[in-house]
């Protein structure tokens, strides 16, 4: 999983306005609720989004992420609460008066207009002069590398090019905020990966605040400065991609982002060390936990497969060891996933880099192996 470029390489200049108490948020949702009949799409939601952020709304379909975006665009108005843009309430402002543009999931390119006219559409509505429009459209075409296709109609270009036209059109008016609704959903995987980096590049160049809606966690992790994981109209966790991945605050988030082993057990607390007793016959798991946990509480221990190492012998420098039998091996080329059955019945997956050629692999099916990991590798979750 690629890391976001901001937090930048310079540690003294990390882009993290959400940690700065003096930073002024660009967008503020204040106790926003949106109901459609009996269905609550967005439930009492409060969040600040800062300038130049690349903010990802991530969640399964029906979690309210699209509704949230449509409220920013002005196509829906909240049932309760207020939405502020640069300190101003934008709820009563119609979509055509907002300094917000949206890139639609279907791209919504006007089929009767050429690429050029599509990009110029918004500028013409602003009543700009002919020269100003021409310059701006040319600039957008250059930015999205579409110069050659200006005279074509949308149905005469490829899916990837259409995606770039949609992006150019929504950026042409230099909005304060750009909304992207599943912008890469219609592209194939390879093109999607390339386009993700292109998006980040363009976001950096233009300095626009981006809010992206996606159900693809990899996409959210790659592009975003912060990710909000949504479920049932609420934001379960809002954090940097690394924070979401390494320190999920709930089983839902841990399970939603990436692969995870979840082991349920009873906690025994000693200082900031927690031991989790998950089975009668197995040694407890030792974990370091920052959060307060009650003694004897039922908890879930979440550990990512790549944090577990598979060896013939237990590694002494790790706090946790369990013995198990390899039930399945998923070979992905660069890495292999080992599904190891513990004597207590749990199936744990561990990810190992294939640093050796396949023919010289150490383990095979039905092998007895030791799984080892440190006490800081996993997270203890109570929700």
């Amino acid at each position: 999983m690629a890391q976001s470029p901001r937090p930048s390489s310079n540690p003294t200049n990390v882009f993290a306005p959400w940690n700065d108490p003096n930073a002024k948020p660009l967008i503020q949702f204040k106790n926003v609720t949106k109901r459609f009949g009996d269905f609550t799409a967005v439930d009492d939601l409060t969040i600040d989004i800062y300038e130049r952020e690349f903010f990802a709304l991530l969640g399964p379909s029906g979690c309210g992420k699209t509704t949230l975006m449509r409220m920013l665009a002005g196509f829906e108005s909240p049932t309760e609460g207020s939405i502020l843009l640069g300190g101003q309430d934008i709820v009563p402002v119609p979509p055509n008066k907002r300094p917000v543009n949206m890139m639609f999931q279907s791209y919504a390119l006007f089929p009767h207009l050429t690429v050029w006219d599509n990009i110029a559409f918004g500028l013409r509505r602003d009543g700009l002069g002919k020269d100003a429009i021409n310059d701006r459209v040319k600039e957008m075409l250059r930015l999205t590398r579409l110069d050659k296709f200006a005279k074509r109609k949308p149905h005469q270009i490829s899916g990837g090019q259409r995606q770039r036209v949609a992006l150019a059109r929504s950026l042409a008016k230099a909005p304060k905020l750009l909304l992207l609704d599943e912008p890469l959903g219609a592209l194939d995987k390879k093109l999607r990966n390339e386009t993700q980096f292109e998006l980040m590049d363009i976001q950096e160049k233009t300095g626009t605040t981006f809010v992206i809606v996606t159900h693809d966690q990899e996409e959210a992790m790659t592009v975003a400065s912060r990710v909000a994981v949504m479920d049932h109209g609420k934001m379960v966790q809002v954090d940097t991609p690394a924070g979401i991945y390494e320190a999920p605050n709930s089983v839902y988030v841990a399970d939603f982002i990436g692969d995870v082993n979840l082991i349920e057990g009873n906690a025994k607390v000693e200082g900031n060390t927690v031991t989790i007793h998950f089975a009668e016959c197995a040694a407890p798991i030792t974990a370091v936990c920052e959060r307060p946990i009650a003694d004897g509480q039922r908890v879930s221990y979440a550990i990512r497969p790549e944090k577990i190492s598979v060896n013939r012998e237990p590694l002494d420098d790790r706090a946790n060891h369990v013995k198990g039998k390899i039930e399945d091996i998923g070979y992905l080329g660069n890495v292999s996933t080992y599904h190891v059955r513990l004597p207590s019945g749990e199936l744990v997956s561990a990810l190992m880099t294939n640093s050796r050629r396949l023919a010289r692999r150490d383990f095979t099916w039905e092998d007895e192996v030791w799984l080892s990991w440190t006490d800081t590798a996993g997270v203890v979750l109570t929700e």
Partner: protein, 298 residues
Amino acid sequence: MNLRRLIVIGIPFTWLLLFFLVPFVIVIKISLSDPAIAIPPYSPTLELSGGLAGLKAFFSQLDFENFTFLTLDPLYYTAYLSSLKIASISTLLTLAVAFPMAYGMARAPEEWRATLMMLVILPFWTSFLIRVYSWMGILGKEGFLNMILLWLGIIDEPLTILNTNTAVYIGIVYTYLPFMILPIYSTLEKLDLSLIEAAEDLGCTRTSAFWLVTVPLSVPGVVAGCFLVFIPALGEFVIPSLLGGSDTLMIGKVLWEEFFSNRDWPVASAVAVILLAILIIPIILFQRNQQKQLEGDQ
């Protein structure tokens, strides 16, 4: 070569050949003949027993006399022009009535659309003739419309609508409305609503989004609807003869009179041939439009 393909293409072509081209060639032939008091009422008739010489004599008797006659009598070209005028105006009127209805249908909740569509098609279940007759009952001097207007006190004297061109317009608009609504509805229904949202997002008001996006994208449906109304309206006979007055001049009526009152089949045929020639222009335009649309979809 490929027998199946040959059959698939062959059947409609044979159909057109038998039921359009052959009759049409006969009509052209009659239009080049002279009227005669005989059965059939024209000469010459084709006699194959005469051999090659007989065929030669047959062709030598054909001439363009009837077409020349049509240009000499102002009745005919005024009838053509007046038909064109009535057909064009009623097409535009139908469009003006049909577009909002089609738009309303396309924007109606999904569960309503089938019902609304039914309501549009429903009049077809009654005879066309009866529907036009009932308009006579509505528009007449003592008709429903005048009764209601008098009762409401909007007018003091009954309006003369029946037997005027206004009644013809009303009749055509009423009769052909579904032909305009359905193609426009089908293009509007396919219209991606996110296009309208995109237009609004880019700075359009509701109204300008309608004119800049909805209207241009509904052009194929509008064009199809206009042709579906214009072409039959041009040759319309029943509506002008029932609802129109003595001064309503339409080529369909002229054709009928030539054929049944004068029994001048050759002149009637010539009128029909020219009517077809006039209609072919819009039909070709219509096909071009369809072709362009097809290419656009690819």
